[in-house]
Amino acid sequence: MSADTAANGQTPVLELKGLSKSFGGLHAVRGVTFKIMPGDRKAIIGPNGAGKTTLFNLITGIFPASSGQVLLFGQDITGWQSHRRTALGMARTFQITSLFPRLTVLDNVLLAIEGLRPSKFVMWRFLSSYRDVYDKAHQLLEQAAFADRANTEVRYLSHGEQRQLEIVLGLASDPKILLLDEPAAGLSSGESVEMTEFLMRLDPELAILLIEHDMDVVFDLAHTISVLHFGEVLETGKPEQIKNSQKVQEIYLGTG
């Protein structure tokens, strides 16, 4: 394992070292550095345009980083394509729901499960003959209380249901770390409480990195919070510290 082990001898699940991205002259993300240990629940907050989603896109390999490093389980994955990162145990959801609208809920989950199985290349056998994949899909849908809508096409689900299915898809690959991009976006307050409860029931060993504007969700869920402003980490601390920080009040909570 790499030298970047924490005090307790564990390797961080995810580690960013001076990660930066610029588009032309615009520095969207500047020198972001942090570590996430197994079971950590970390939230990134910041005003719109602070570079939060760009940061996620760098971590998941949608954009190449301009400089800096991304380490997943101590392994440098900075230049890797997205699908290889997923194979190592990373999953994410999107701020703008990005499911497969014209496929059924079940098919969505099946695709998510197959993503990391070698059988995704099999073309001489029906997918429906893979009992284990189907069992797992039904189990996942059961957990998220989707079982009754398994055969509904996703485009007919409500927005809240689609947000939840986003997370189910993220969980289907049994990730070690889950990146959630505004899971509560567009949800009613009742729905976002449900969403928070659902997230709190997840395996405590699963590390979660969360972007969220809904502060109730953030304070319920996160162990630590980092504040991103103009692409830079302004402050990091426990929810209490962040809540009381003068600087954060000024740039975010006060004006937001």
């Binding site: 998941t60 997205s82 999953a91 994410r92 499911l99 497969f100 695709l111 993503g115 997918l127």
Partner: protein, 337 residues
């Protein structure tokens, strides 16, 4: 699950009907059906790309072309493929189609949407240009005439009914293989790529590779249809690889319903039928074809196979214009950045 079985059953019944009815008709119909069957393999191969992967290719005729030209050149120049070795030619056609697609795919798969259309158009034109101008190999504008069909064992493919059954058998095998493909894990991954490629990458799929493999498979079936086409038509010419042939295939797939395989076959039969029957009846038959195309695209974007689904939705959700509108869109490449 039950609806799938029902559909399979309906297709089997339809195929059985073809196998029983067609031999009892005149040679005009037998030849027409044989042509349509051979061509519909190409249309189905295109549907793998268009309907299942969301890649609209404007150069699919190129693969029919390599298969057909290979068959014709081997037969006329080397007298190869006119006996038992016909089966070898069938294999060669498949491999050449796949090889060409493997080469073209390297250039084309990176592009998406309109750019994919344009690059496949350009690649198709490359093949056409060679067929048209490379006189010493392809016979140029006149093409190559195949003077005889294969003969092996007690089977003489010059007999049009025997030949019909051969094409029918190859067609059924192709349909079964492609149907298995689109319902396999790999085939489902293509549908996922069609719907949202970025999400597929995040789910762990190397989407480039999946599209590339699909492109090669489509090319292989295109090559196969080319071998059959050469012997069906008896002549191979630049006409087979010209842009309009590719466009025809695309329209047939859309007319029947993209993303259904069987729809492409129905579309092929309708267009071939209109051409052959209507052209003997009225001089303005091509208007009918043009209007059918335009009307399909404007009013029936999911094709003929989409009609039952549309009726069902109209009944089920009369108050969901949004859903109907989205359904009406053949453009699957909704991408988020």
């Amino acid at each position: 699950m039950r609806s799938h079985r029902l559909k399979i059953l309906m297709v089997i019944v339809a195929l059985a009907a073809v196998a029983i009815v067609v031999p009892n008709t005149g040679s005009f119909v037998i030849l027409l059906v044989t042509r349509a069957l051979a061509f519909s393999i190409l249309v189905m191969s295109l549907d793998i790309l268009l309907g299942y992967t969301g890649l609209a290719s404007l150069g699919q005729a190129a693969y029919l072309g390599v298969g057909a030209y290979a068959t014709a050149i081997l037969a006329t120049k080397y007298h190869f493929g006119l006996g038992w070795d016909f089966w070898l030619v069938l294999l060669i056609g498949i491999l050449l189609g796949a090889a060409l697609a493997a080469f073209f795919g390297l250039l084309a798969i990176r592009a998406s949407g309109v750019y994919f259309l344009m690059i496949t158009l350009a690649l198709g034109q490359c093949v056409w240009g060679l067929a048209y101008r490379w006189n010493s190999l392809t016979g140029g504008d006149n093409g190559i005439n195949l003077r005889e069909r294969p003969k092996f064992g007690g089977i003489d493919l010059a007999n049009e009914l025997t030949f019909f059954f051969l094409v029918f058998a190859v067609f059924c095998a192709s349909l079964a293989l492609m149907y298995t493909l689109v319902r396999s894990p790999f085939g489902r991954s293509l549908a996922g790529i069609r719907e949202r490629e970025l999400r597929m990458q995040i789910l762990g799929y190397n989407t480039w590779l999946h599209k590339y493999i699909a492109f090669i498979i489509a090319g292989a079936f295109g090559g196969l249809s080319g071998v059959l086409w050469a012997h069906t038509a008896g002549i191979v010419s630049p006409e087979n690889v010209v842009l309009t042939t590719s466009v025809d295939a695309l329209l047939m797939a859309v007319l029947g319903g993209a993303g259904t395989l069987v729809g492409g076959v129905i579309g092929t039969f309708i267009v071939f039928g209109l051409r052959e029957f209507l052209s003997t009846l009225v001089p303005w038959w091509q208007y009918v074809l043009g209007v059918v195309y335009v009307a399909t695209i404007l009013y029936l974007p999911t094709g003929l196979m989409g009609i039952p689904e549309r009726l069902r939705q109209k009944r089920a959700k009369p108050d969901n214009p949004d859903g109907a509108k989205k359904l009406a869109s053949l453009h699957h490449a909704e991408k988020t950045t």
